[in-house]
């Protein structure tokens, strides 16, 4: 740069430092990003607001009674008690079935399986399974899990006369549905554990099992819990497989067998109730549908909140 008098060079520097005007493209881009955020949030807000407003009369008029009442064909007495129980039971069994199997599969694929074509083929197909429509899993449940459940409960409780269309069959079906999600997220969490940690473990004389159990899994827990959150939400919200298996959305007797009946007898779940009530021609069920949606959202958010709290507890800052 040419240097003239000190004053002249000062002017030159000031000119180069001066703002070259507004970056309109940048402004437009950030404005567009903001619009996307607002749009996404607005859609959710409108949906939630609508169901809350429509369902509110049910909560104000009936309150806790609505939450505990059984299914009924009369709008005035129908409630979601059996749905909450069914959904929580299903979620519980999905957690104890799918999570351990999913984590073990992920551990095997990431830590134990040799890196060869077979392993890669399996890993790719697990990803494909995660994309299979849930209706297909419903058919799998109807074709396999329902008859198997029927046969087993026929052996254990022959007097129950169960059809196999039960919480047990639904839980197994939904476990199969969420299993790929658990495997994929767990495998990613395990892969994200730095190799240096494994080396350090082997370096002090730990065996593969000790490294996996003592170092890799604890470090991967936050990521694994993320997969758990996703799978619980999915299991709580899935409707199609339940309908195909044969969920009830009209009155059914809870019977007098307690836990046995609720596991092997007829069952229902919140999303199925929403579906059943929404397709009910009786206008009185509109408010009920909205109220059931609110309960479903609340249960899902609650389950997620618990999992997120757990995840944050185990979070590791590298």
């Amino acid at each position: 740069m040419a240097v003239g008098s000190p004053a002249a060079s000062q002017v030159l520097i000031r000119r180069t430092l001066a703002s070259s005007g507004v970056d309109w493209r940048g402004v437009a881009f950030s404005g567009f990003l903001l619009f996307c955020v607002v749009f996404a949030l607005a859609v959710i807000a409108v949906l939630v607001a609508q169901v809350v407003v429509r369902g509110m009369p049910i909560f104000t008029d009936r309150g806790a009674e609505f939450l505990s009442a059984n299914l009924s064909s009369r709008a005035g007495t129908a409630g979601v008690g059996q749905g909450i129980a069914g959904s929580l039971l299903i979620a519980f069994f999905v957690v104890i079935l799918a999570i351990p199997i999913g984590i073990m599969t992920a551990v095997y694929l990431e830590e134990y399986a040799p890196d060869n074509k077979t392993t890669r083929f399996i890993a790719i197909n697990i990803r494909n399974l995660a994309g299979v429509p849930s209706v297909v899993y419903g058919l799998l449940g109807l074709a396999i899990f329902v008859p198997v459940t029927r046969a087993i409960e026929g052996l254990i409780f022959p007097d129950l006369g169960g059809t196999g269309r039960s919480v047990v069959a639904a839980s197994i079906t939904l476990s199969a549905l969420v299993l790929p999600i658990v495997i994929i997220t767990s495998a990613e969490a395990i892969r994200a554990v730095p190799g240096a940690i494994r080396e350090a473990g082997y370096g002090v004389g730990a065996s593969r099992w000790q490294v996996t159990r003592g170092l890799v899994l604890p470090s991967a827990i936050p990521g694994i819990l993320t997969g758990t959150i996703l799978s619980i939400s999915r299991a709580l919200g899935e409707t199609a497989p339940l309908i195909i298996i044969g969920v009830s959305y009209n009155f059914f007797s809870t019977g007098n067998r307690g836990a046995v009946e609720s596991l092997f007898g007829p069952f229902t779940a919140l999303p199925a109730i929403v579906f059943g009530w929404a397709s009910n021609p009786n206008v009185d069920f509109r408010e009920l549908t909205a109220a059931a949606i609110v309960v479903l959202l609340a249960v899902t958010l609650l389950a997620n909140a618990i999992a997120i709290l757990l995840r944050n507890r185990y979070e590791i800052k590298w």
Binding site: D115, A196, I197, G201, Y202, G203, G205, G214, L215
Partner: protein
């Protein structure tokens, strides 16, 4: 090319039979260049060792002996196989698929690559400190206790942890925060924690793979002081890129380079003072004087 050190070392005072654990005490009285005590029985000995990544021979014709209770530095240009060679000693390379070893490494006369040898057992006796400090994402206490726990240590764990942290010159820094994460420490402290972790299983050899390359000069000096302290009980083999570090901190230096086939080999092994002031081989002289590498 290279000859086993035990054969090339000076034959002075052959009568004195130095016991392994008395070696360092006697050695410290010997200072003058060239004159050295008679060779102790090597603790680690390479015999015609070749190392392969699949079909690529990364290291070849290794015939060196590591003396107990000394600090042996492995130096040489990047990519000459120093770290690979170091990792053959505790069979760390076994974890990499497709690697293969030919020849023998003898540890207390036993071949580490015999079929019956369990690499896990090898690593319990030959500890390792890595290039980047890699404490476990656990508390300081659990970092040290992890090794003893996996080998089923039955004694007083609190005492062992304190003992190891003291030996790693870390106790005073961390005694009030043993429950805190090891990852919250500074880089130099983390590396000393890794050293405490490595000595907790009571190995007799400690491998250090460029332990100071991620540390500032002050922490580096602390680690070097610590090494000088630790060699009373441990044999230390250190890979370093830093020639001043090799000159300052080691007793014996092994200079490696790579041949035209890109396989690393040992050019020269000898007392550090000799390697740096009076190398026998032109390649060594070029390297230590900074003309190459």
């Amino acid at each position: 090319m290279d000859e086993a050190a035990s054969e090339t070392a000076s034959p002075a005072a052959p009568q004195i039979n130095i016991k392994v654990d008395a070696g360092s005490a006697v050695r410290s009285t010997v200072t003058s260049e060239g004159a050295s005590e008679p060779p102790a029985e090597p603790i680690v000995e390479f015999r015609d060792l070749h190392f392969y990544y699949d079909s690529f021979r990364a290291v070849k014709d290794i015939n060196i002996a590591i003396e107990p209770q000394k600090i042996t530095a492995l130096i040489g240009p990047s990519g000459c196989g120093k770290s690979t060679l170091l990792r053959t000693i505790n069979r760390m390379n076994d974890l990499i698929p497709g690697t293969r070893v030919e020849g023998e490494i003898r540890y207390h006369q036993a071949n580490l690559y015999e079929r019956s040898v369990d690499p896990v057992e090898v690593r319990r006796r030959i500890g390792m400190v890595f290039q980047k400090p890699n404490p476990f994402p656990k508390s300081i206490y659990d970092n040290v206790a992890f090794g003893p726990r996996v080998i089923g240590y039955k004694g007083n764990m609190d005492e062992l942890v304190e003992h190891c942290l003291r030996r790693a010159a870390l106790w005073d820094d961390v005694k009030d925060k043993l429950k805190q994460s090891g990852l919250a420490l500074s880089g130099g402290q983390q590396q000393r924690l890794c050293i405490a972790r490595a000595i907790a299983t009571e190995p007799d050899v400690i491998l250090m793979d460029e332990p100071c390359s991620a540390l500032d000069p002050r922490s580096t000096l602390q680690i070097e002081e610590l090494m000088a302290e630790l060699k009373r009980n441990f044999t230390i083999i250190i890979v370093t890129h830093n020639m001043q570090q090799a000159a300052r901190a080691s007793d014996t230096t092994v200079f490696m380079t790579m041949g035209d086939d890109r396989a690393g080999y040992v050019v020269e092994q000898g007392e550090t003072v000799g390697i740096f002031t009076n190398p026998r081989n032109q390649l060594t002289e070029d390297y230590v004087s900074g003309r190459f590498g």
